[in-house]
Symmetry: C2
Subunit: 358 residues, 2 copies
């Protein structure tokens, strides 16, 4: 629990992340506060720019709470962007409608990285920490709040590509040809991410997720060296002097199913999984050493209610009885989804999972 935390009315998420018994399987949804909600689109339109929304603690708080008013979710997740850290480092984040994130400055040579400094979250990302404090006050002990950051590698891809990419040609050119410079950048990012997550925990988040959205594009050995190793550093940096994690840490590498054993050995509390790996197989492969989060294909939410119910049942049966499962999609909910389908999903997870926790 975060500093000064009082017991939560609904602590299913935290119990599941610690592999403790629960009454029903907890559920939250990546991008649960997002474009599929009309009330989100209204706030977003009024704010004008996406980053204006992220930088305004009151608006970030409002948007964070929106899905909780509609759905019986077991957690709130801070509304923010994974690229706040490189933005604070001076790369100048902006968004082009329909094209994803971009940075005003892009490093071209190792020398361009020389003057970079790690982020001091308390000063440079105070707007996020203020949002955390506001949300926590509004939640008033009802539900846990999840904080998050991008992984060092994922942040590095956006920095080196100057924004979103399809083939990661630039980031991989650094990886294969300038590995020392890339390690320097990843080291700075690991320090920054650790400082940022520590600050979020101090401000009151009850769990954190590290989004390694682009770890899955790496070769197996490159994943270990350039992505996983730096996430492990972040996890280690969060530990208290006695070695305990102050809050549960979820590590989510999209496309990382082939590396599950290594992820399970990272020291994180839970591994997020996309839909390509069976949760039952994941459980056997990790020997219940780590909690598992996932893993419904988000495309299921475009189907009819009967199909959604059937697929929710399959995911729950795949994991099977006992604790250690946090229900989620395998990736974010898409903007074209009907909110009523999300409501159905959340209710069915609770209803159908009860049998697995008796």
């Amino acid at each position: 629990m975060g500093a000064g935390a009082s017991p939560l009315a609904n602590d299913r998420l935290l119990r599941a992340l610690r592999r403790q018994p629960v009454d029903v399987t907890p559920v939250w949804i990546m991008r649960q506060a997002g474009r599929y909600l009309p009330e989100y689109r209204r706030v977003r339109a009024a704010a004008g720019d996406f980053m204006t929304l992220c930088r305004d603690p009151a608006l970030a708080c409002e948007v964070t709470l929106q899905p909780l008013k509609r759905f019986d979710l077991d957690a709130a997740i801070l509304f923010s962007d994974i690229l706040t850290v490189p933005d604070a480092m001076g790369f100048g984040l902006y968004f082009v409608e329909g094209e994803g994130p971009r940075f005003r400055v892009r490093p071209e040579t190792p020398a361009d990285l020389a003057r970079l400094q790690a982020v001091r979250a308390a000063e440079q990302l105070d707007y996020v920490l203020e949002a955390v404090r506001l949300i926590r006050r509004e939640l008033d002990g009802r539900l846990p709040l999840i904080g998050f950051s991008g992984s060092p590698w994922t942040l590095a891809t956006y920095i080196l590509e100057g924004g979103a990419s399809r083939d990661f040609a630039r980031a991989k050119r650094w990886l294969y040809q300038e590995p020392a410079a890339l390690h320097h950048l990843l080291d700075l990012l690991a320090h920054s991410v650790a400082d940022y997550l520590r600050a979020q925990i101090a401000a009151g988040v009850d769990a954190v997720q590290i989004f390694d959205t682009w770890g899955g594009v790496l070769a197996h050995d490159a994943y270990r060296t350039f992505s996983l190793a730096y996430m492990v550093r972040v996890v280690e940096a969060l530990r208290a002097p006695d070695g305990a994690l102050p809050v549960p840490v979820i590590l989510f590498t999209k496309g990382g199913g082939v590396w599950l054993e290594e992820i399970a050995a990272s020291g994180a509390s839970a591994a997020g999984l996309d839909w390509t790996l069976s949760l039952g197989e994941a459980r056997r492969r990790t020997g219940d050493r780590i909690a598992l989060q996932g893993n419904l294909d988000p495309a299921v939410l475009r189907a009819d209610p009967a199909t959604i119910e059937r697929e929710v049942a399959r995911v729950l049966a795949d994991y099977g009885p006992g604790p250690g499962h946090v229900f989620n999609l395998g990736h974010g909910v898409t903007p074209d989804v009907d909110p009523d389908r999300v409501a159905l999903l959340v209710d069915k997870v609770h209803e159908l999972s009860e049998a697995y926790h008796r």
Copy 2:
């Protein structure tokens, strides 16, 4: 070997696919005849349209042979497109520059699939078979020729999306909501693909690869039911009355590393692997029951010669000593690659692999 085949001067590929000893590891490269070659771009520009190039056996033959004049490759691969089958089924394939393939007709409801018929390759894809015969004559027993098809699922995605897609929203809507109709389509496609590959083998190809480019976007159980099961049907349909495969069959599911055991049990001769899975681990997981093809990250070809040599050495060391490895990239060579880098790659595979075959 194909019908009427005479022994090949270079049979490394076929020996490796059968896990027989070789002097050095054979190498070919996905999209080895393609846009990174200036001589390809000249032929392509003169032909005007991409499909004109595919439909002209003399031009397809010329383009197939181009990389063999530059590089010491161990196989030719037929120049064609994976979408010739749905084109022959009447969907009307065309290409928009910079946007990938599109179809003129897109099924909207299950009723739209009712009148579809399986392709009869000998009549409807005679231009491909004529190209195979021409290439084989030109190769004159020097090298094996690889034929190919898209997998039923991969072809179905293009048909149901009406072309390329980023999220496969339509194909997955069919999968989750109209599974019976999708199975009907996949059944037709499996019959068509089997007929097409049988015809390519009769025309003289020495091995075939099934490209399951989009199998990796599926959930684990959906992959088994909607992709792998239909590739297994194709493999079974190719077998001679005595159960033997007439030529080796390579099954390549991009992103399929998590499902390697199931792929190894498919009856195919070899599994193509992308760069996310270690070949050494793949070998342990399959117990040498199947040959393995891959798996250098194509991004390595953008690096300097020393890096390319180092990464080639890592892939060879990862597989280790003994037969059963076909060197390839984990996906197609990209258009921005310098052909001299490909020459270096091919030469280094031969030079550095010798030690593993003593």
